[in-house]
């Protein structure tokens, strides 16, 4: 199987990205992004735009660099000592890797939801209130309550937890925990939400709820989602980007990618010939 993959790889040497990686009026635009782990290069010259109020899915086989790319967008890679990012990444025309850009501010604007639900070992209320308190977004308790309740409502969790706001967030079910993490993220009103396989640890019902939620959130936020499930990508996203071995192979309308992929590698992947 490996040999076949290599064969495919050899045959379809990736040269540039096919499709439409760039859009007009991007919320975020990245040009020529390279990422290195020590001496090893993980991402090769990715050009990609995130449009306002769209959901873009990043798909690709394991180890293709889609999570690494996602983590560049709010500089989460800074926490890894050996990781180095080059290229131009602009959020509303501001370079996020510029000297003057504070990662703390950036992460308030670009929120992130992780693969495994990771609520703080605190109460449900404190989990959601942490961000607003941290950034001083609420001036008094009433405002804070308001933010917490709205966020929980937006995350579709309020009705389930309204009677146990003071109970530990870690006591919720897996799906509820993930929605709590989403509520926590939107409590600071970010402009972009990055989701790294948000439903991979959840059962189908919880997954469906999360997917619905993503669709609703699109009205207010720009969302980039990494997923292994092509059905999920097809269900929630408007555009899809296919990564392969650290390179961005193809970007296009989700419909077009799944029905009429232009690159051979994309076709191989979505038809399940490797992955």
């Amino acid at each position: 199987m490996n040999k076949a993959t290599d064969f495919e790889h050899m045959e379809h040497e990736i040269e540039g990205t096919v499709g439409t990686p760039l859009v007009d009026n991007p919320k975020m635009s990245t040009r020529n992004v390279d990422v290195f782990y020590g001496d090893k290069q993980a991402i090769f010259g990715v050009d990609l735009d995130l449009a306002e109020n769209e959901v873009i899915s990043l798909i690709g086989p394991s180890g293709c660099g889609k999570s690494t790319y996602l983590r560049c967008l709010n500089r989460m890679n800074d926490t890894i000592d050996i990781c180095r990012v080059t290229g131009q990444l602009l959020l509303d025309d501001e370079d996020i890797y510029a000297k003057g850009m504070d990662p703390v501010l950036l992460r308030a604007r670009v929120g992130m939801v992780f693969q495994k639900p990771n609520p703080f070992p605190k109460s449900v209320y404190d989990n959601v209130a942490y961000g607003p308190k941290l950034h001083g977004l609420a001036s008094n308790k009433a405002e804070l309550d308001e933010v917490v309740i709205t966020s929980l409502q937006k995350a579709g969790l309020f009705d389930e937890v309204k009677d146990r706001l003071q109970e530990p967030g870690t006591g919720l079910s897996g799906g509820q925990q993930q929605r709590l993490c989403i509520a926590r993220t939107i409590a600071v009103s970010p402009e972009i939400i990055l989701m790294d396989e948000p439903a991979s640890a959840l059962d189908p019902i919880a997954t469906a709820i999360i997917e619905e939620l993503i669709d609703e959130l699109r009205a207010n936020y720009t969302i980039a989602i990494v997923t292994h499930s092509m059905q999920q990508a097809a269900r929630v996203s408007q555009r899809t980007a296919y990564f392969h071995l650290g390179k961005l192979v193809e970007v296009g309308e989700t419909n077009q990618i799944f029905t009429n992929p232009q690159h051979q590698l994309t076709e191989n992947y979505i038809t399940g010939r490797f992955g």
Binding site: M76, R107, K116, P121, Y130, L134, H135, R184, V188
Partner: protein, 601 residues
């Protein structure tokens, strides 16, 4: 059956056998370990618990105005300087009017602790109205008396005899006759004791003779060697052999002397044993003491028959006394091998009969500092010293240790230098603690000029010692916090420090506290480095601050273990019990904290 199944099946018994062998090893290791712990605790508690009780003697004390405050002004300074020991001595003289002569009186005064005067002083200063009155006061008994009362001086046997004694005199050498064979049970016991002593002496004699033979044999051989060396004219060897021979001869004469003494002793016992059927048996002077109590006095028996005895009066008899009993006490340890003589024992027994001797809870042990007098020695000074030392240690080592751990774990760049630091911290944990003491002596005392024997220096030294433990435990605790929590916090826009202090530290804190408490327990039990910085001095005053001279509990234990007085043996064990109590409490606290604050995620 497939081939694989066969092979696996064949190997199964062997696997199970090795498993059960391993289990047996583990179990026996645990049993052996537990047995040692049980033996240790039983030994320490068995030895130490008597120290929590202390003997007191109740005496009527007349608070004589002439002695305490001759001017009658009730000036506290004058009253503080009065001779309170004199009041106690007065009371003792009145209790035993027959004691005369300087030496006897000194022996009598030794019933009461030398420090008892201070108790009277405190009483009078608290309440000057006592002056001019007579009060019954419980006074601390001397440590030797305490040891005797706790049964550690000699085995003691009592015989209640029946018979009406007639005594030739009230003092000096007396003859006692009874109207029946009153002394028969004592004589029987005496025979047994003599036989036992005889057997013991004979055994010792045999051993001494064997040794003598060996030595003589060696002497012969060495002389042969000397003759040979002289024949070949080998000067250094001749010199050496002559020395050895001289040494040999000395040993031989020593051994011959021992044999002579033993021979005499055996002859004495044999004579006494032959005499048990005779009218009267002589009791050798270096044998057990036979004390006869009658008519309110005490006679030391030198010869005993079935219905007669001869002896020396130790405490004057009073034929008018209403004490009609006849009691004989055997103290198996000879008087020459005891620190409490027969006469003193007689006094104590008399006081006991009056019901004025009692054991009370030993408050002195918990309220006094160290003392040369065991009955006045307590652990309060050492406890205060340990407290101040540990406060310094905790205040320094916890913040430094946790800070270092946080920096190394969270902020330090991963490079060669941090690796080097890490290796060195781990090595530091294995450095012998006395090295830290040397360091403390050189740096803190000699260079910085901090005071010797002070808790502040002890605390600094113990900080150095416990730091590696705390850093390692804290880093392990930080490492055990799942990275997802850190990512969540950073993803929310928390700075690294906020992520650390809001989320990671609270989760790691129980582990850090456990490590710190274990480090503190280690510091509490540490002796060696403190010896180097002078915390081993004899300090009577209870330290009041961080720069006062002080010692700590384990060093106090070490000092007491070194003291010759018998009463310090039980105090040593009692202090160990207190120390163990603190250590167990601290470890229990560590377990409790871990259980209470351990969070699941």
């Amino acid at each position: 059956m497939s081939e694989t199944t066969k092979i696996v099946k064949r190997s199964l018994p062997k696997r199970y056998r090795s498993e059960s062998i391993f289990r047996a090893f583990g179990l026996s290791a645990i049993i052996v370990g537990m047995a040692f712990v049980v033996i240790l605790f039983a030994n320490i508690i068995g030895k130490g618990y008597p120290a929590f009780l202390q003997s007191y003697i109740k005496l009527p004390i007349y608070f004589d105005e002439q002695v305490i405050d001759p001017s009658g002004e009730r000036d506290p300074e004058v009253m503080a300087r009065a001779d309170y020991m004199g009041l106690i001595k007065q009371s003792l003289r009145e209790a035993f009017p027959d004691v005369s002569g300087r030496r006897d009186k000194l022996a009598l005064y030794k019933l009461i602790s030398q420090g008892a005067g201070f108790e009277l002083q405190d009483m009078v200063l608290d309440n000057p109205d006592l002056i001019g009155t007579t009060q019954d006061v419980w006074l601390l008994a001397d440590d030797e008396i305490d040891v005797y009362l706790k049964g550690n001086v000699s085995r003691l046997e009592q015989f209640e005899l029946t018979g009406r004694p007639v005594v030739s005199d009230v003092s000096g050498e007396v003859e006692i006759t009874t109207d029946g064979p009153a002394f028969t049970p004592v004589l029987n016991r005496m025979q047994e004791l003599f036989e036992r002593e005889l057997r013991r002496a004979t055994r010792e004699m045999e051993r001494a003779r064997e040794k003598l033979d060996d030595l003589k044999q060696q002497l012969v051989e060495n002389r042969d060697l000397l003759a040979e060396a002289e024949r070949y004219d080998y000067p250094t060897r001749i010199e050496r052999l002559k020395e050895i021979i001289k040494n040999n001869q000395g040993q031989i004469s020593d051994e011959e002397f021992i044999i002579k003494v033993l021979e005499e002793r055996i002859a004495g016992y044999q004579k006494s044993l032959q005499g048990t059927s005779a009218a009267e048996v002589d009791i050798p002077a270096d044998a057990a003491s036979y004390l006869l109590e009658l008519q309110g006095g005490l006679v030391r028996i030198t010869a005993l028959g079935r219905n007669s005895a001869r002896g020396t009066v130790l405490n004057t008899l009073d034929p008018a006394s209403d004490d009609q009993g006849l009691e004989l006490v055997i103290l198996e340890t000879p008087e020459s091998e005891r620190r409490v003589n027969d006469r003193t024992i007689g006094w104590v027994r008399q006081l006991q009969e009056q019901g004025v001797v009692d054991k009370k809870f030993n408050t002195v042990f918990f309220s006094h500092g160290d003392s040369r007098e065991p009955e006045q020695a307590g652990i309060a000074g050492a406890l205060a010293g340990s407290f101040f030392t540990l406060v310094v240690t905790l205040l320094l080592s916890f913040p430094i240790g946790v800070g270092a751990a946080i920096y190394l774990e969270e902020f330090a760049p991963k490079n060669r230098w941090t690796d080097l630091i890490e290796v060195n911290i781990n090595n530091l944990a294995a450095v012998p603690s006395i090295v830290f003491g040397l360091l403390g002596l050189a740096v803190f005392i000699n260079y910085f000029g901090l005071p010797r024997s002070a808790p502040v220096v002890g605390g600094l030294v113990l900080t150095l010692m416990t730091l590696p433990t705390i850093i390692i435990a804290s880093r392990a605790a930080l490492k055990s916090v799942p990275p997802s929590i850190r990512e969540a916090a950073l993803g929310m826009g928390a700075s690294r420090m906020q992520a650390m202090f809001h989320h990671i530290l609270p989760l790691a804190l129980p582990g850090m506290l456990t490590g710190t408490i274990i480090g503190m327990a280690q510091a509490l039990g540490e002796t060696a480095p403190l010896l180097m910085i002078g915390m081993v001095a004899f300090i009577v005053d209870i330290p009041q601050g961080f720069t006062d001279n002080a010692t700590v509990l384990p060093v106090q234990i070490y000092l007491w273990a070194d003291s010759p007085e018998r009463a310090f043996v039980e105090r040593t064990s009692a202090a160990i019990m207190v120390l163990l109590g603190f250590l167990i409490t601290m470890n229990a606290l560590a377990v409790f904290l871990r259980k209470k604050f351990e969070r699941k995620w």
